[in-house]
Structure formats: C-alpha cells, structure tokens
C-alpha cells in the first residue's frame, strides 16, 4: 500500500516536472532557427521569431506543438505553406513562377558580361584602325611618341 502510494507520488511529481519543464535547449535552438526562416503574415517584414503579433504567437505555439509531436522541419514548413502559401517562407522554393527570382540575377550578370565584351571589342577594333602600327613592334614607344606629339603640338 505504501509502495503504491509512493509510486503514485513519484508519478505525480514526474508528470508535474514534465509539464513545468519546457527547458529543452536543443528544441529551443531548433525552433528558433526554424522560426527565423518563417515570415509573420501580420508584420510582413518580420520573422515568426521576432514578431510580437498575436498570430505569430499562435503560430509559434502550433510550430512547437508539431515539433514536440515529432514532425520534421520540412513537415512543419509544409503545414504552414498549405495554409498561408509560399509567402511564409523567407527562402522561396524553386518553381516555374520563381524562376525569374532565382535565375534573374544570373541573366543580368550574363547580359552585363555580354555588353562589357561588346564594348571591349568595339574599343579594340577602333584602336586597331587608329594605330595599325601599335600592334607591331614596341607599343610603348608608339604611345609615348603619340603623347609627345600631342603635348608639344603647337596650337
């Protein structure tokens, strides 16, 4: 009888400890990282971790509940995307509508490179026609000669 009572007391203590012990540093760290990758729908330029909006609080509660229930980060993100769309993700997924977003900078880089090449080529061909001698022999001498000529030329 006493053993049983002791056992009950121990169980009650354990249950109380489990309830009053949210201190799980690993889980906290994981949630903080996950929440910093999610957007708060109310203050749209804040992450779920930073926002004080009530909805952000509710969503943090849901995210924590899902994490405690053993869901993976990807599953938690899917849960939110199913309700709020890709907008909740700070890191948008690569799909046909986001191609411009993901590959646009590369396109711009390529276009810039192309324009640069064209300019270089145009300059080179102009130099070639201006001073065909520059290509042959000592180019420095030629440049110095031209500079001198320009300097000492009488107006």
């Amino acid at each position: 009888m006493i053993v049983r009572r002791l056992l009950m007391a121990a169980l009650a203590c354990a249950a109380f400890a489990a309830e009053a012990q949210p201190a799980d540093p690993a889980l906290d760290a994981r949630l903080r990282k996950l929440e910093s990758e999610l957007r708060c729908l109310v203050c749209q330029n804040q992450t779920l971790a930073d926002s004080d909006a009530t909805l952000a609080g509710d969503l943090r509660r849901e995210v924590r509940a899902l994490a405690v229930a053993g869901k993976s980060d990807a599953e938690i993100k899917d849960y939110l995307v199913a309700r709020y769309g890709d907008f909740v993700l700070y890191n948008p997924p690569v799909k046909s509508v986001t191609w411009l977003l993901w590959f646009g900078p590369l396109l711009l880089l390529l276009a810039g490179g192309g324009i640069w090449l064209l300019l270089i080529r145009g300059r080179r061909s102009r130099q070639d026609t201006d001073a065909p001698a520059a290509a042959a022999g000592a180019p420095e001498d030629d440049v110095i000669a031209r500079a001198k000529a320009a300097l000492y030329e009488e107006p």
Binding site: V42, Q44, T54, L55, D58, E62, R83, Y84, G85
Partner: protein, 177 residues
Amino acid sequence: MKALRYLVPLAVFTVLLVFLWVGLSLDPREVPSPLIGKPAPAFDLEQLHAPGKRFATADLKGQVWLLNVWASWCVSCRTEHPLLMQLAKANVVPVVGLDYKDKPADGREWLTQNGNPYSLSVIDQDGRAGIDWGVYGVPETFVVDKQGIIRFKQIGPVSVESLEQKILPLVRALQKS
C-alpha cells in the same frame, strides 16, 4: 547601329518602369491563399449563441455558404458590418461567422449592439480554426461551394464593389451549378 545605343537603354528603362508600376499597384498585404480551389478545412466548434450546441463545416455540405471571420476587437469589421446586415436581410446565402480569438461574452455583446447578420456564429477562442483557414487579417470572408470547396477569399472588409462584382455573382453561379 547608332540608334540602338539610345534605344536599348530606353527599352530597359521602359521594362523597369512597367515592373515598378505593377509592383506599386499590388497590395503586399493581400497574400494569395493556397486554399482557393481546395476543400474547406473542417472544423467542429461550439456555437456562440447556443452553448453546448456545435456546428461543423460538414453540416452545410450541398449548400453554397460564406464564412466571415470577425471579432469584437476587430476595428475594420465595423466597416463591413452594415453590408453584412444588408446581405442577411436579402437572404441570398447563409453566412457563418467565425468569432476569432474573442471572448464569447464580448462577441455576443458586440452582436447585440451592432446587429447579428450571421445565420450562426462559432467560437474559435484559441484561433486554431483560423490558422487552418489561413486567416491572418480579420475580417476575412470565404465563399464555399456545394462540394465544400473554397472558391474565393476576401482579405479585409467586404466592400460594395467586392460584394456586387465578385462575391454575389460567384454565389449565384455556384448556386445554379
């Protein structure tokens, strides 16, 4: 070739201008819902005016209905309230109210003061049903068709325009189908 030197930057500038123009006319607060065209998330909640009695989304299967998310603390709900009252009077479509993150007593008090346009209201005190429906800015209004599919979502207060140009024509079309 010479003309190209001026035309190319002009073309680039025009494209930029179009992007900026379209960008400015978009409302960043209106996030398109991924739930459009999907089955309405089911809930089974206690009714605001009949404690103990419940309402489930399945109860309205076979009917076109509106879900209006409101709360007594919601300021812009007051803007759309007269329109909802008119809609109720016209008796075109059942409107279910989702009293979102509100104290039931406050919700009832608010409806007594301002009039109750809802066929019935349910209590979503912890906001779980709201999250399932992707609610982030109260008021929000959803159109659900006979098969229980969400067909339209209005974020923010219903206006005369949105009611007459979008919601009511859609409701009529869905009721006929």
